[in-house]
Symmetry: C2
Subunit: 219 residues, 2 copies
């Protein structure tokens, strides 16, 4: 129905309508922003890099990881959060920052921009959706399901039959995202290594694309 | 930015463009449909009543409950599910059924309908969002958070200072949704009774509106 969203399309539109926005770069590990509710001052759009979202200060509670072309601090679906949501630069990151009022104006003032609503809303909801169904996946498949999730969320393309994750998506992050005990997590990881589904090369996790296709439902 | 979605608006549009749809009624307990992935033949829109969504046949795995003006089998954000998703009539339910191709046509052929994308997408994502953050809420607050979630998802209005839930939203359903043990669940419920926050009247759960407002974050 619609093609994937690309930040170029949106920023070109902002330029056309003379709507201001700025570009900013963060280094890996930087705290970008903390939000308490859907009422935020700024909307962020990722031009390059990865951003991790945590509830609370405790880094064991990772909620999701955002990638190029994803918006954050854009919450069409909710009012309040159970805890403060922290956004950190997982890698070096370049973002566009748009004032929330300007953002709203850009979408609501011109009917030809209504399609953006759908694209943004769909992309934001993907993160919530995959997070929510992770808990419906049996524990013994959860790591593999998480890796499949990140292939989709990061919109990765297979290279020589493998999806290569950024090296910052390490064991610690994956263990936190899957919410598994150390023992269960490493048992799964070792099984995936032994089965030739997951590999580690130059600190990057890699996953066999064909195996992933076959594992459609992971029930 | 946009007003809440009402099924009347959408069905009027369908009639205007001569796009066919039908109306159907199910009795409480009826299985409405099972879906394996986002590729579905029919899209459902609830005119009246409540629909429960379960992953798998096991009724311990409730995913969410949908209410009036919600679409289901409309999945803008995903491709596959970890298990089959079952939709049951939780109460007597009346739905509109729209063929998926006709549904897509109604949204994509006319630019003036693009706004619907946003509304549907946002409403669908609410279910995933609240489900996903439930696990970020400390266990001892989870029942209260779930009740607050259903006030929002059902778009309930307070009557004489209380939100009244449908009687089908009973202890069994709430226990399943919160994924708490019997002991933890009933301890929380009894505390909420004792604190005068939750009540049971004529088999309906009720919740004090003012208490709910004060409990903004539940951390």
């Amino acid at each position: 129905m619609v093609s994937p969203f690309d930040y170029v399309e949106y920023t070109n539109m902002l330029k056309n309508y003379d709507i201001s926005f700025k570009e900013k770069t963060y280094q890996a590990g930087d705290l970008i922003t903390i939000v308490h509710s859907t009422e935020t001052n700024n909307i962020f759009l990722i031009k390059e890099g990865f951003v991790s979202a945590y509830f609370g200060d405790d880094s064991t509670e990772i909620y999701t990881i955002l990638a190029k072309n994803n918006f954050f601090c854009y919450f069409p679906h909710s009012e309040n959060f159970p805890k403060d949501l922290h956004f950190y630069a997982l890698t070096d990151v370049t973002v566009y920052i748009i004032d929330n009022k300007e953002f709203t104006f850009s979408l609501s003032a011109f009917p030809e921009n209504f399609g953006f609503h759908y694209l943004f809303s769909r992309d934001v909801s993907k993160h919530a959706f995959y997070r929510s169904i992770l808990y419906m996946v049996p524990k013994q498949n959860r790591l593999l399901f998480a890796l499949k999730t990140f292939v989709i969320l990061f919109d990765l393309e297979a290279k020589e039959g493998k999806f290569v994750f950024p090296k910052e998506l390490n064991s610690k992050i994956l263990k936190s995202y899957t919410n598994l005990s150390k023992k269960v997590f490493y048992t799964q990881l070792n099984t995936l290594y032994a089965d030739g589904i997951v590999f580690k090369k130059d600190k990057h996790f890699e996953i066999d694309a064909e195996s992933l296709d076959e594992l459609e439902f992971l029930t």
